[in-house]
Subunit: 442 residues, 2 copies
Amino acid sequence: MLGRIRPRPEDIERLKEISGRIITSAERLAAARSLELKAMLVGSAARNTWLAQDHDLDVFLGVPENADLGEALEVARLVAPEHEEKYAEHAYVHAKIDGFDVDLVPCYMVKDASKLRSAVDRTPFHTKYVGERIQGLEDEVLLAKQFMKGVGVYGSELRVGGFSGYLAELLILRYGSFEKVLWAASRWRPGELIDLEGRVVGVGVSALGQEPLVVVDPVDPGRNVAAALTLDRMLQFAAASRCFLDRPTLEFFFPPKAKPLSDEELVALMEERGSSLMLVNFPAPPVVEDVLFPQLRKAEASVRALLEKTGFSPLRSEVGSFSGRAFMLFELEVSHLSRVSRRAGPPVWEADHLSRFLEAHPEPLSGPYIKDGRVVVELPRTYTRSEDLLAAKIGGLSLGKHLSSAIREGHNILVGPEIASIKDEGFRAFLREYFEARNWIC
Amino acid sequence: MLGRIRPRPEDIERLKEISGRIITSAERLAAARSLELKAMLVGSAARNTWLAQDHDLDVFLGVPENADLGEALEVARLVAPEHEEKYAEHAYVHAKIDGFDVDLVPCYMVKDASKLRSAVDRTPFHTKYVGERIQGLEDEVLLAKQFMKGVGVYGSELRVGGFSGYLAELLILRYGSFEKVLWAASRWRPGELIDLEGRVVGVGVSALGQEPLVVVDPVDPGRNVAAALTLDRMLQFAAASRCFLDRPTLEFFFPPKAKPLSDEELVALMEERGSSLMLVNFPAPPVVEDVLFPQLRKAEASVRALLEKTGFSPLRSEVGSFSGRAFMLFELEVSHLSRVSRRAGPPVWEADHLSRFLEAHPEPLSGPYIKDGRVVVELPRTYTRSEDLLAAKIGGLSLGKHLSSAIREGHNILVGPEIASIKDEGFRAFLREYFEARNWIC
């Protein structure tokens, strides 16, 4: 088991060799330009806690606080002439070097992690803190990370809302072993506080009680390391921990990959569920996932609110992306509504309001009549099918900036069997997981 | 107009003659049995405030407080050998005499209306109170009553929940004329208080603020004459008053009778509304309307709650009776629901509750998964159509006593076009009124 996830000695050698070369090259290029720059290997690669199948290398290019990050970026460009520029809070360089995914990230070398000028400035402090304490516990970290991966809670990116590698490492440091982390997690409730250095006074009161899990950052006590962790991912880890301790199997670490759903299976599932499935899909806007997913979720919430208000009773919904397209899937308990609908007006004794209401609805299907003291008219509904409603209203919903324009430029709304027209394997695998919807609960 | 509703002199003569005969006969029969008994003409007939088309005669047979009402009932039976015995709080006799519907009602002659032994004992006091004050205002009363009839708010029986004749008379006494009553009513709001004798201190605090209109009974200040008036009937009268004052027409007094809906009209309306109509009908239990209608309304509320909870979104419902059958009609915005349904369980961290929940749902369609901290499973719904749900559940609902057994003994559930199988003209006229649902609002 550990053999599958632990990097082999030759992999470690190779990683050291490659990162050494990058660091030397960066510092030489900087020196040639008279730039004070310190290149550092950070992240799991720096402390032998990376999973064997991962080939990520993070090299940070630190410059003094009064220097220009742009100079460091220029160095990064020169280190990896064939690269792609990306952008988080600041620009950085991504390149494939000898089979590794290398990020070259300019940062400021601040004295104190609480005085940082940019979010990435904290990373070298994390590397130092964990590096000084993790020796001998590397395998425990690898088990924890792989377990989190297996049960679907690994990754602090917003698409997942799970545990970061640093958070996994801190949990191992706090509890001492993989198994002890699971024991602790299996008793977690929302509002849990973990404070390795006893510095809780530093945490903003707002985080405590508001966020499901607060893990005080030992290098910056004002920050919650678990800020990106959602309640449901936290509880999914807690539930999976309980299951695993009760009946440990390898499946938790290496669950079978979801097979794409076939056309026949899709049709059979729709038949069995008798629900109304509605898929909105459109070209994914050219933004990173951490920008895309919050906007997708916001749009999902807006559409759900619209469907609920109108009476279509959404049962479940989900968002995702596949081969350049983004989508929202809605499953409804109600596929169509009566044409007649009810509109309640003001209390009958409010004569002025009543008059305006009656003028606004001169020819109702039924009414005006009085019900529970209010005037009521029954009017024809404009949209009796969810897809018509959505097609008409989606442009006016509160969607994120990038999503708004992507949806406006063109989108498809597919209903029921029409969804089978999408053959993408990733999407079909997503559909199987959607229909199964089994978290690790027992 | 008044000519249509005012009793002609010869009608008044005839009524006096007939009631005189009944009173003489009753008192003679009582004397023959050595029974102290005073026969009295009460109600609108006693004060010339009855509508020409009505032929009701109420004769009360008063006995001393220590006497036996049974003796008076025996006298009533002898006065009208061909009769029917009815029952309110006590037994009374109903008979057709010379074209009049005569009620012969035993009562106690109490000294003070607040010391009554039976609800009917109050009636002679009402007759006396109004009789001493209404002279010269009879036509105003007739107009008020006919207007109330026309706009559908006349009658304190529970089927209607409207204005009694006595209440109409008190309103005329309070405001002075039909038109003044309308002016006052047009400004009514819930919580209105009318107190002719300034005796409000006598009214139970519970009635004030709880009942939409409180009219202190001048002969028994502890009683609200408008206790049977519902909020919606009160406001219907208020709204109609406003409309009439704005644009008075004869239609308010004599609205066209609703024509029975034809099969074609029924089908066309169902098409236009696109809703799901469901009619539950069964033999009316052998009880008076004042017992039947509260039970029908209670049953209606139980069924609505069931439909709402399940997701069928009732738009409107109504109850009624025709030729020996009682019915409840439900109009739904949703005709059928998905087979898959959502069942949320306990918070995931409540391990014991969670285990029990998971054991109770071993093979869900989807899940268990975590949503907003709770475990969720998706299960097949037993009833996806409203009529199946109702057929299965109606026996177990909280219905009134008589309705429970009537429904249990046999009922039909008709859906959509099946409703057209009921050809009864009264029911078809009801359907037209249901679909129009126009109260007097403008």
